[in-house]
Amino acid sequence: MPKLTMVQAINLALREEMARDEQVVLLGEDIGVDGGVFRVTDGLLDQFGPGRVMDTPLAESAILGSAIGMALAGLRPVAEMQFSGFSYLMFHQWEGNATRYRSRTQGQHTCPLVVRMPYGGGVRALEHHSESREAVYAHVPGGKVVMPSGPRNARALLLSAIRDPDPVIFMEPKHSYRSFREEVPEAEEVQPLGQAHVVQAGDDLTVVGWGAMMRPLLKAAEEIKTADGPSLEIIDLLTISPLDSATICASVRKTGRCVIVQEAPRSFSVASEIIARINDDALLYLEAPVRRLAGYDVVTPYFGREKNYIAPVPRIVRAMRETLAY
């Protein structure tokens, strides 16, 4: 099995799916000749030609808007937002059209499309290049939100997202784009949407994370296991919406304790929703309050001070210990 970065793994998924299905087309800013500002689409223009890999004008709303038209006509467009921070320019097309055509026409017209967007901090970038706003998209009915955490699941999830009959926001943790490699099977591997992955089974504490936070979370888990010896159950959400609350609640019923680690601001967030689900289905099993270790409700700071704002390993370790000791 080759060891790939996430950038390479996503490129592989696009390449595989374009070779398999000629209805799959890519569009976005700088994705063709330049191969994307992160090189995720590198080489695809040469392989598939300008009819299938389109360098579009600089207009996010029309990138999604025209992708909606393509999807309505039966193509499978995969649009790229250069950064998630620019995606609000297309938000009305997402909220007003992409997620609604199915219900508006009771299934007569649908929008099977994917919007890929790098998200998240830690890369010393300019304003609008570091946010984690999955909750914004997860709040909208009719669209799915997927967040891979590593090369292998990024490839497997993207294949599912492109084949999905409904619109999918695919948020790529840019901090993890090149920071590590993983073995990615050469044979096709598909990870169904809507299913969380239990990375490690355990009995004492459930830890839930997703996207870029999985790396520090796993390091913290390793540390606490070595030092304190508790048995942790670690869940990588992979799909934010629809949320796999069955997996989370089954785990919490077993462990009675839960820490949720997220990069995004705390209030009205995915972590908040997870707590609500636990409240619905596992409240009486709790031995401790469910802990949200999240970002703060501040405008994402410039990179000069951003590192204090994304939970580092010691902060995660501490949250785990406090919840275990409660």
Partner: protein
């Protein structure tokens, strides 16, 4: 390099049938008598249904809607010029075209009474016609994508996309036209300039002398037409469709018309415009002049008019009857159409919802 003129642009306007129904023989399209009658019938059907819906709305039998009265020519003539495989992308004043493309009146009534079921058209009709767009201008980029898809697949199909005058101020309008032009997509964009975006008049909407000239920014052929002249609409759309099919890319048409009624039934134009202006435009409305044209060609007379109106009244009666006799649809259908497959949390919410509804009905 000295200062010099790099490009100069002109804007053409087109009128074939004047306000009194006199035709410019040199511009008159070669339409067979049965096609002319179909066009007149199409416009009359929309007028009849609109007038009935106004009454139904006032009686509380349907919800809020935006009448198309006075604007029947544009979309009906465009629909006549289109082929079945062409996409019809409407804004919200294209009733004539929608009916001409085969939308059953009963669907129109259900839609305007607050039921998504109204948007579910018979498959051969709905295949290439999208529902009304409420978010102004947001359909314009869709048309670019639909056109791109047709071109990508080597289909002979084109896209006809309608919008109002206000839509030409929206970012999506400009983005969509730009994309269609860059891709040379087979799209005909038609702005029905009815002079009013709710209460904002055309002169406050844009400083541009014409709306048509907005197409020049994207180097696409553009034209202003008399939007109350069904023949001019037919000619302009036919030309644009032929160009689109021949690989000549998109066209932008400004159809100058007038919204004779309120924006929607929830609106009162007395608050912002003069009745005299409305009266002036009633004299220029599209059905009147087309009837005079047909009469002049000995294709129409008062007796035929009476018979048509009686027939359309009966057709609308039948549609209203079918509409009002439709059994209530299940309340929980929205749950079924969020995703292709219902996820467990939604299935659970649906059970809760149904239990509440039942309990409240029993109480």
């Amino acid at each position: 390099m000295p200062r010099q003129t790099l490009a100069e642009f002109t804007i053409e306007s087109l009128q074939v049938l004047d306000e009194d129904g006199r035709v410019d023989a040199a511009l008159e399209p070669a339409l067979e008598p049965d096609e002319l009658l179909r066009l007149y019938r199409g416009m009359s059907r929309a007028r009849e249904l609109d007038q009935r819906m106004l009454k139904l709305q006032r009686q509380g039998r349907i919800g809020t809607f935006g009448p198309c009265i006075g604007q029947e020519a544009v979309s009906t003539a465009a629909a006549l010029a289109m082929r079945p495989d062409d996409w019809f992308i409407g804004s919200f004043r294209e009733l004539g075209g929608r009916l001409m493309r085969g939308e059953p009146m009963v669907n129109t009534l259900h839609f305007h009474n607050g039921w998504e079921e109204g948007n579910v058209l018979p498959p051969e009709v709905g295949r290439r016609m999208l529902p009304l767009t409420i978010i102004v201008g947001s359909q314009v980029p869709h048309a670019a994508g639909l056109g791109y898809a047709a071109k990508y697949r080597g289909e002979d199909a084109a896209v006809v996309c309608f919008m109002g005058d206000g839509a030409t101020s929206e970012g999506d309008f400009h983005e969509g036209l730009n994309f269609a032009a860059v891709w040379q997509a087979p799209v005909v964009f038609i702005s029905q300039n009815n002079q009013w975006a709710i209460s904002v008049p055309r002169e406050k909407q844009t400083h541009s002398r014409t709306l048509a000239q907005k197409g020049i920014a994207y180097d696409m052929p553009c034209l202003q037409i008399d939007g109350n002249d069904a023949l001019a609409c037919y000619v302009a759309v036919s030309e644009a469709l032929a160009r689109a099919r021949a690989g000549g890319g998109p066209t932008f048409i400004e159809a100058v018309t007038y919204r004779l009624m309120m924006h929607t039934t929830a609106d009162d134009p007395r608050k912002y415009r003069d009745e005299a202006q409305e009266q002036e435009w009633w004299r220029k409305e599209p059905l009147l002049r087309f009837r005079q044209y047909l009469t002049g060609k000995k294709l129409w007379n008062d007796k035929q008019e009476e018979a048509l109106l009686a027939e359309l009244r009966a057709e609308v009666d039948t549609a209203v009857k079918a509409f009002e006799e439709t059994a209530a649809w299940p309340p929980d259908r929205p749950f079924e159409h969020v995703f292709a497959t219902m996820h467990p949390a939604l299935a659970q919410q649906r059970q809760e919802f149904l239990a509440h509804v039942k309990e409240e009905a029993d109480a």
